[in-house]
Every structure is written in structure tokens, then in C-alpha cells.
């Protein structure tokens, strides 16, 4: 068992992949800078060479497309976008190309690249440096969407993503990097078999979440335990394709559902979760209206006083749960 934080867990996944798979390479902005992506890629360029760790011009679109093309030629590229917001220039390569090539060409062309897209917000950086757009990608058939919330998943799902023959959008959030955990040796997982996980059993309410919202949910559940409320926590992990059966079972049991999401509310993935549950649970089994907590329908403000209110906090979730089910 080795002590890791979320950041070093990502780093160790990179190291594992680069050591064991010569067809893995990494391309993106900031890869030769020591500070661009936190501690998640430190010294990779020095250890694996600048031909496999490629820092690039400010050309998100072509660099992403190049990774798609390299994957078609048998490589396993990882494109890094230090902020998801910058990746918006690369949408064609992701949505029109990577996600569709397998289907359009009869399953014969398989762009097995991984796009590591970092949610990087706060610090008064504002609307163009803050977005969490996972809902968009969950709406793109052909793309696997992965959002690790734990230290173990940060490492293991990155490896599984890169080894997957499909295009994967792997989304990490810098607000998760300081979590710590001891990890056992690496086991290669089959990404297509990964599903949402019940990370804590409970009876009173099911809380479904992804990424940083799952960290908030875990902390909330701790607090609520002290108030004798038992939360069942489900960490989505994989948003696309979306496997919902265990969530449905859980809600059928707890009879209460709260979904927490790091995106802005309208059109967020939280709606998908509630909808899919509601379509499938026994009618009349709920005790309360399902609820969701996500960001206001507004771009991220910069001013510290506004920013502080804008993002979700443990206390917001706690309060919502209490309002829903406190007797």
C-alpha cells in the first residue's frame, strides 16, 4: 500500500502507462511547465522524454485531432486540456470525429484516445475559466465519460480509460487533488465494465453525484450520520454510457433521492439521473420529491463574495437533505 493524494495518483497512472505501453504518449499545453497541471504530471517530460510528452502550440483543435488520428494509427494518446473551457475550441475533433468514427465506418476504425479535461475553477478566474461541461459529453453517443472522485479512481480509471479501445473523456477536478488514500498495486480494469458505485450504504436517502460533488456528498454524509441520518451514496464515475440500475434499486429502497452536480442546473446531468430513476421505479414508492443541487444558471462570477455563494458547499447539501427528510 502506498500513500497517495489524488494528484499523485494521476501521476502514478501516467507513469504506469508510459512504462508499460510504448504506444502511449501525452500531448497538450503546459506539459513542459512544472505548474500547469498541479502535481499530476511532474517531471514526466524529463523521465519519458519530450517526444512522448509533447507540449504544444496554443492549438487545442489540431492537437486534439492529431491525437484522434494517432489513435487510429495504433497509438494510445492522452490529450491534456488544462481547463475544460479551452477545450471548447476542440469540439469538432471530439464530437464529430472521435465519438463517431467507429460507428460511421462500420466498427472498423476505433479512435482509442483519452481526453483528459480538467475542471479548474475558483480563484476569481471567472466564467471562461470555470466550466464543468460533463453533461454535454454525456449527450454524445460514442464517447465514454469518466469522472473519478476518489484517489483510487483517479489512478485506476485513468489507466482503464487509456487502455479502452474507445474515445474517453476523463474529467478530473482540481478541487479533488488534496484527498489522500493508501492504494494497493495497480490492477488494469476494463472500462466498459465500470459502473456507478455505492460508496456508502444507507437507508434514509440516496445521494447521487459525480466528481467534486461526490467529495462534498461524502463529507455531508459524515455530518448527517452524527444527526442520525443515514445516507446511501452513489458515485456516478461513468456518465456515458449511463448505467442506472443500481441507482434505481437504491432509491426504491431509501425512497428519497437527491442528485448533486458541479454543473449549472438547467440541462445538467442531474436531470438525466432523476429522469431515468423516475421512469423506472415503482410508481408511488417515493416519500419525497426528488431534488437536485447544482450551480445557479449563471456564468461563474469573479468577485470573491459572489464566487463564494456560487459554488456548492457541504452545508448546502446538508440543509437540503434535512429539509427533505428530517422528521
Amino acid at each position: 500500500m502506498k500513500k497517495h493524494n489524488y494528484g499523485t495518483a494521476i501521476l502514478s497512472a501516467f507513469e504506469y502507462l508510459l512504462e508499460n505501453y510504448p504506444e502511449v504518449f501525452v500531448i497538450g499545453q503546459g506539459l513542459w511547465s512544472p505548474w500547469y497541471v498541479g502535481n499530476t504530471m511532474t517531471d514526466l517530460d524529463k523521465n519519458f522524454g519530450s517526444e512522448r510528452i509533447i507540449d504544444t502550440p496554443v492549438s487545442e483543435s489540431a492537437c486534439t485531432g492529431a491525437a484522434v488520428g494517432a489513435s487510429l494509427a495504433g497509438m494510445k494518446p492522452i490529450v491534456v486540456h488544462p481547463r475544460m473551457d479551452f477545450m471548447i475550441f476542440a469540439m469538432d475533433s471530439i464530437v464529430n470525429q472521435a465519438a463517431k468514427w467507429s460507428h460511421m465506418l462500420g466498427g472498423q476504425a476505433n479512435p482509442g484516445l483519452t481526453i483528459r479535461s480538467i475542471i479548474n475553477r475558483g480563484g476569481e478566474q471567472g466564467a471562461q475559466h470555470s466550466q464543468a461541461l460533463h453533461a454535454w459529453f454525456a449527450h454524445v453517443p460514442g464517447l465514454r465519460v469518466v469522472m473519478p472522485s476518489t484517489v483510487a479512481d483517479a489512478r485506476d480509471l485513468l489507466i482503464a480509460s487509456v487502455l479502452s479501445p474507445d474515445p474517453v473523456m476523463y474529467i478530473d477536478d482540481r478541487w479533488l487533488y488534496e484527498q489522500e488514500a493508501k492504494l494497493g498495486p495497480i490492477v488494469e480494469l476494463d472500462l466498459s465494465k465500470q459502473k456507478p458505485l455505492i460508496t456508502k450504504k444507507g437507508d434514509d436517502i440516496t445521494i447521487v453525484s459525480s466528481g467534486h460533488a461526490s467529495l462534498l456528498a461524502r463529507n455531508t454524509a459524515e455530518n448527517l450520520r452524527k444527526k442520525n441520518i443515514s445516507c446511501e451514496l452513489i458515485d456516478l464515475r461513468i456518465l456515458n454510457p449511463f448505467y442506472c440500475d443500481d441507482i434505481i434499486k437504491s432509491v426504491t429502497k431509501t425512497k428519497n433521492l437527491l442528485v448533486v452536480d458541479s454543473g449549472t442546473t438547467t440541462g445538467s446531468f442531474s436531470g438525466e439521473v432523476i429522469s431515468k430513476v423516475i421512469e423506472n421505479i415503482p410508481i408511488g414508492c417515493l416519500e419525497t420529491n426528488p431534488r437536485r443541487l447544482a450551480l445557479p444558471d449563471a456564468p461563474a462570477p469573479t468577485s470573491r463574495v459572489l464566487e463564494k455563494e456560487y459554488y456548492l458547499k457541504v452545508s448546502d447539501i446538508e440543509e437540503t437533505v434535512l429539509n427533505m427528510i428530517a422528521k
Binding site: 484522434v68 488520428g69 494509427a73 462500420g106 454510457p241
Partner: protein, 349 residues
């Protein structure tokens, strides 16, 4: 740098028989056969579309065959070739299997893309054709990545993208020029400059009709060639590709040409072009790449009109049979729609 194609874009020039000097007789015959085969295949597609047997759009490249044919002579099955919406010739120049093309265009399971792609989404990786898709400029950066991969894999293969003059207006193409050069990737940018993007003449869209100015700006060695002279194309591409395989980095070749049909489907489309006249079309037909090579071959006694006619007849018969077969082929199963979404799904089933 001079930034005008001048005579090259004037159909009244360059309509003489092409010079066949320094090309092996067998290659010349291969090339004319390939061009004829592609022309006739597309004529069949035009008919199929007109009669409604083909349900989707076909973007025909008749008049532009010399480009893919001349270049493909220097390609191998492990090169990485990418096309776009007008890519029948790009594929057929690597693999003349028109039966699989017919099947694909008709949406049949036996087609190049298993019936999942139609005319605009073609695949034949075994022969170096990595894929074509209809988002304009959508494959250019992909080809650069495949070229970068060749370098990382220590292979002598090259990446190649066929790019229209319209596609050059998409920003990602400029990013791709820079990326290919800074990476010294073995990437051949092939610009098929047919002077039009659908209805719009290049003079309405760009500040010069010579796209090679962007190669110059990115320090990519380039050549500008009569796109209807298969022999000059052959020589130029061969030289460039040899240099690339030797580690010379990216190259750029601009080929000036014209399409006989309208932008899409079987009509001449003089009706829908802005700045496309019937006169131009007919002058460009005089500059036809097949006729020009044919004349040279006959003049030089390399083959006769009779040989040409008998080859044409042979191809006509084969096309007739292949079309018939494709028409009767099965469609994909309904499960295909879901089964091809993910590779991993497919491999499980």
C-alpha cells in the same frame, strides 16, 4: 512570393497532351486505367443517384482523377490516407474495388464501411485508406496525428490528407500546418484546388487563389502543379514522398483542377454556381486529365485507341455486374445502429 495561380487556373491553358517522359510504360498504363476506372465508377454513381437507387448525396470528382491516381503511385498500404466528402477517387486509386464502393453507397453490409457510411464515410485501412468524412477539414488534423504516430513508431509511412480549397478556410487547417511542421511530421498536405467550395468561387472567399501561400508561411516545402496532368503529379509527389520517408518533414502540394459535375449529385449545376459558367465547364473538359494522357499514350505508341476501347468495355461490363451484385446485397442488421457505437461493445458480441 507570387500569390496568383495565373495560367494554371485558366482552362484555356494546359490542355495539351501531357509529357510522359521518364515514366515507365507500365506505370503509365496503370495510371490511365485507374483514371478510366474511377471516371466510369463515378458515372455509374451519377446514374444511380439520378434514378434514385442511391438514397444519399454523392460528391463526384470527375475531372480531378489525376490527383489521387498520380499521388497514389508512390503510396504503400501502410501509409495513412485521409479524405473528405469527395473521396471516391482517393479510395479507388488505392483499391479499385468499385463493387465495395457501390455496395457502400447503396447502404449495403458488403460495402467498404459495412453499410454504415455511404458515399461520404469510406474506410479501407488495409490499403492505407484510414477514412473519409464530410465535415470540411475534419480529417486534416487527424492525418497530422497519424503522421506523428508514424514517426513515433519508427516507420517510414506518411500521413496524407486530401484538402479542398474551401477546407483551407477552416482555422484547424492552419493549426495543422504549424503542428505538422513543428513536429517535423511526415505529413503530405494535398490541396485539390478546384476553385470552388460548393457554389462559391475562390475569389469570393480568399484573398488569393493560390493556397500554397500558407505552406510558405509555415515553411513547409511546396509545389504547385497542374492538377490535370497525371505525369507531373506523379513526378512531383514521388519526389516529395521520398523526401518525407527520409525524415524531411511535411510537404505541401497544390493541384489546380476543376470538377465536371456540380457540387453534389449528377448535374452540371451551372444553375447553382456563383461564377461557374457553362463555358468554363466545357473548357475544363478540354483540359481533361484522361484525354490528355490518352493522347500522349497513343501519340507515343504506348497504347492504341483500340486497347483503350477494349479496356473501357471490360470495365463497363465489370461495373455493370458489380452494380447488379451490390444492388442485391443485404442491408446491415438493425442491431448495427447500437452495436457500432463502441468498439468494446462490438468485441464483446
Amino acid at each position: 512570393m507570387e500569390k496568383n495561380l495565373k495560367n494554371l487556373s485558366n482552362p484555356k491553358n494546359f490542355n495539351h497532351p501531357v509529357s510522359i517522359e521518364n515514366i515507365d510504360k507500365n506505370i503509365l498504363i496503370e495510371m490511365i486505367k485507374s483514371m478510366i476506372l474511377i471516371r466510369k465508377t463515378e458515372q455509374q454513381l451519377a446514374i444511380g443517384r439520378k434514378t434514385g437507387l442511391i438514397g444519399g448525396p454523392v460528391h463526384l470528382g470527375a475531372g480531378q482523377e489525376a490527383i489521387a491516381v498520380g499521388i497514389s503511385q508512390s503510396l504503400t498500404a501502410t501509409d495513412r490516407v485521409f479524405g473528405a466528402h469527395r473521396s471516391h477517387s482517393h479510395l479507388l486509386a488505392l483499391n479499385p474495388n468499385f463493387y465495395k464502393l457501390f455496395a457502400e453507397v447503396l447502404g449495403k453490409k458488403t460495402g467498404f464501411s459495412k453499410g454504415m457510411g455511404g458515399s461520404m464515410h469510406l474506410f479501407d485501412q488495409q490499403n492505407g485508406f484510414y477514412g473519409s468524412v464530410p465535415i470540411v477539414a475534419g480529417t486534416v488534423s487527424l492525418a497530422v496525428g497519424a503522421a506523428m504516430a508514424a514517426k513515433m513508431q519508427n516507420k517510414k509511412d506518411i500521413g496524407l490528407a486530401y484538402i479542398g480549397d474551401g477546407a483551407v478556410e477552416e482555422g484547424v487547417v492552419h493549426e495543422s500546418f504549424n503542428l505538422a511542421k513543428i513536429q517535423n511530421a511526415p505529413m503530405l498536405f494535398v490541396i485539390e484546388n478546384n476553385l470552388f467550395a460548393s457554389h462559391m468561387h475562390i475569389s469570393l472567399r480568399q484573398t488569393s487563389n493560390m493556397t500554397a501561400r500558407f505552406a510558405e508561411a509555415n515553411s513547409i516545402p511546396y509545389e504547385i502543379v497542374d492538377g490535370n496532368d497525371v505525369c507531373e503529379i506523379y513526378h512531383t509527389a514521388k519526389k516529395q514522398i521520398d523526401e518525407m520517408r527520409d525524415g524531411g518533414g511535411p510537404r505541401f502540394i497544390e493541384l489546380v483542377t476543376y470538377r465536371h459535375y456540380g457540387h453534389v449529385d449528377w448535374r452540371d449545376d451551372i444553375d447553382v454556381g456563383v461564377d461557374r459558367s457553362l463555358d468554363d465547364v466545357s473548357n475544363w473538359k478540354d483540359r481533361d486529365p484522361i484525354t490528355r494522357l490518352s493522347k500522349s499514350l497513343v501519340n507515343n505508341g504506348i497504347w492504341t485507341i483500340e486497347e483503350e476501347n477494349s479496356y473501357c468495355e471490360e470495365i463497363d461490363n465489370k461495373i455493370f455486374a458489380a452494380w447488379d451484385k451490390a444492388i442485391n446485397d443485404p442491408y446491415p442488421e438493425q442491431e448495427s445502429t447500437l452495436n457500432y457505437v463502441f468498439a468494446s461493445k462490438k468485441s464483446k458480441s
